[in-house]
Amino acid sequence: MLFKDDEVARAEAKAVRENAGWYRWTHDLVEVSGPDAERFLDWMLVNRIAGTPEGRGKYTTMLDEKGQIIDDLVAFNRGGLWWLSTLYGPHAVRWFDAHNEGFDVTYQDVTQAWDMYAVQGPNSGKVMAALLDEPVDDLKRFQIVERHVGQTAVVVDRGGFTGELGFELYCARKDSAAIAEAIAAAAAPFDAPRLTTLEVYVRSLPMEKGMALRQDYKGLTPYEANLGWSVHMDKDFFGKEALAAAHEAGERRAFVGLEIERESYEDIAQKEIVYKRGVPVGYTPAFIYGYTVDKNIGFGVVDARKCPIGTRVTIGGNASPAVVVEPKWC
């Protein structure tokens, strides 16, 4: 929960939007390899993974039998070895265990072997240039390369979860403290702070740009979650039939933005009920304060028919007034 008057959080958010900031940000990491690795991932994930060039990654969702989202991740091709950056690796591993029949593939959660830092913001390229042995400013989105910090080998991708230009830097766990020190030294001349308020970089900055965590999409199809662009119906993938049927029937729910018309939102937790004229029409996966837009904002999963953009609703037992908006604020 973040509040308008939290000056530390505001300064951290401002640094990323206007300059640069860095923080430890460890996705869980699942490594996939073997002769059928690419074919397996192409089957498990809705985006087209087959043919992804070496050194490139793709954002995608993973579905269950009902065609509903159970994970969203970026799959990086590291030359036959695949890295999946997901919020929670053990779930992905268990899901693969249950659906790997017919594939010659191995996978493991390697989260504990790697540490990861994010450098984000319009000036993040300058910080990376000061940090690394070779520049990375010409990287395309989700391009992944190997570099060095001093003598230490690291892996860098152009990506992040703030909606700004940014980079993610992976290093061995044993090198983590030294890498953090090196990033701090590289960031200092640019006045780029280390972010310490988790909810600024996990919730506030991403939400303003319309970026959700996988749990926000729980139970939704990619179409309901506004992620239809990533679905490749011209290939086979797990959950396709159910997804096609649901899409054909029409999306019942909509993933929307909600703007609270009150100073604060303390009475709103995860999955608070959204009402339209006193009748439940959905729920809120998450709420936060957005320092760039200076508003209390959140995501909503609502009845698509009853809640077009502009609908006035209330949230929770205290009837906090809100309006339905597009789920992207800046």
Binding site: M1, R24, Y88, T196, R262, Y283, N318
Partner: protein, 409 residues
Amino acid sequence: MALLKHVATHRGVETAFGKIIPEKEAYSYCLRTIAAFSANIFQVMRLLNDDWEDRTSQICEIANMMNCAACAGGEDELFQYLNAFYDEWNIPELVKRAAWIGGIWGDYGDEAEDMAGRVIQFTENRVEKELDSCPWDIVGSEMCNMTTAMFTANFDIAAGGEHGAITNDVQLNMCEARGCGNPHCRVVAERLDHFNLEHQGWLDHRGQPTQPVHDTPPERRVRHAQGLRNGQYVQAFGEENSLEWQYNWVAQMGWVWSISFPLIAIRDMAEDDDEFERILRIVFATAGKNAFVDFFAREGLRNWLDIPREIGDNDPRVMGAYIDAMLGCQLVPHEWEAFDAEGVEIRVSQEDFEGRFEMAPLEEITMGYEAQWNGACHTLVSPEWSVWIDEDDDDYIINVGRKVDDRAL
């Protein structure tokens, strides 16, 4: 237009007269009855030990030790225990989970126990949790202190420190407590190195944090936790607990932390078991007598249970129905042996009655409720009627019957 085939079905506890107590109401009542039992036990403690600092310290130490012991074992076992917890709650590496497990751990327990509120701040160096309600707010200040000792255990476990000692790197302050008259309960954890703080002792947990707190205004406060508000608890990383799961969890665990743990220390405060049991019976009997001295309390109960007017005031079924509703709401399986104007008999297995949490049965439940219900019966029905509990093989028979006792207390 076709009519519905049947009315919608909802879960609830059926009273002796067929009225359904809705699940959420039964859950709330269950919580409050456990808290009331705990309040009585704490009164016993105050009679046995008149030194606030001494008794508070003793229960803090026990609560901390028992929380740590719950996941005791070698380093590998502790690691497995923690990993299983992270996995159950889908807690990813990115939150520095080992350092903040206490902040995460507490949230689902608070919510299950209808300690409704919010995590105000969750950073690497500081966590602030604010609660607007607490069914245990009748127990008293020792309880508020004791819960902070339990949180300390969570941090100790995560830090892998010596069990029973404060080894973690966080200062924890319950700087407000509803049980002490504050509008909120508020627990703040601040990292020692970041805020230049010292390790605390058992009685140091009611201090103020170094950083200002965020006080939620009255109109934004909530009356109930997520489960009772919305039908389920959803944790920040998306994992859910159903209302049903939460209800069952508190019907077990509420007895453990708020009664079983402090009782270990409280029993030791008495000279011997006889003295402890004598005082316990007196306290619970008084609580029972006071529960129904007001006519509106008796009328309210009749209304709540839907007791028909054909059953008069001086009828044992009134008391029997009350006990039945309490057992039902506490999720204790039981059956009627007799329910008429001559008396009431309720059969319940000893294991179910005392072993709410199977691994930690409490004989004090039998002693306490026998005294409390007997006292309550004298004001709810009349002094002509008494409540006593007989053993029958592995069962108890809870009786409401006529009994003349020349030395009735």
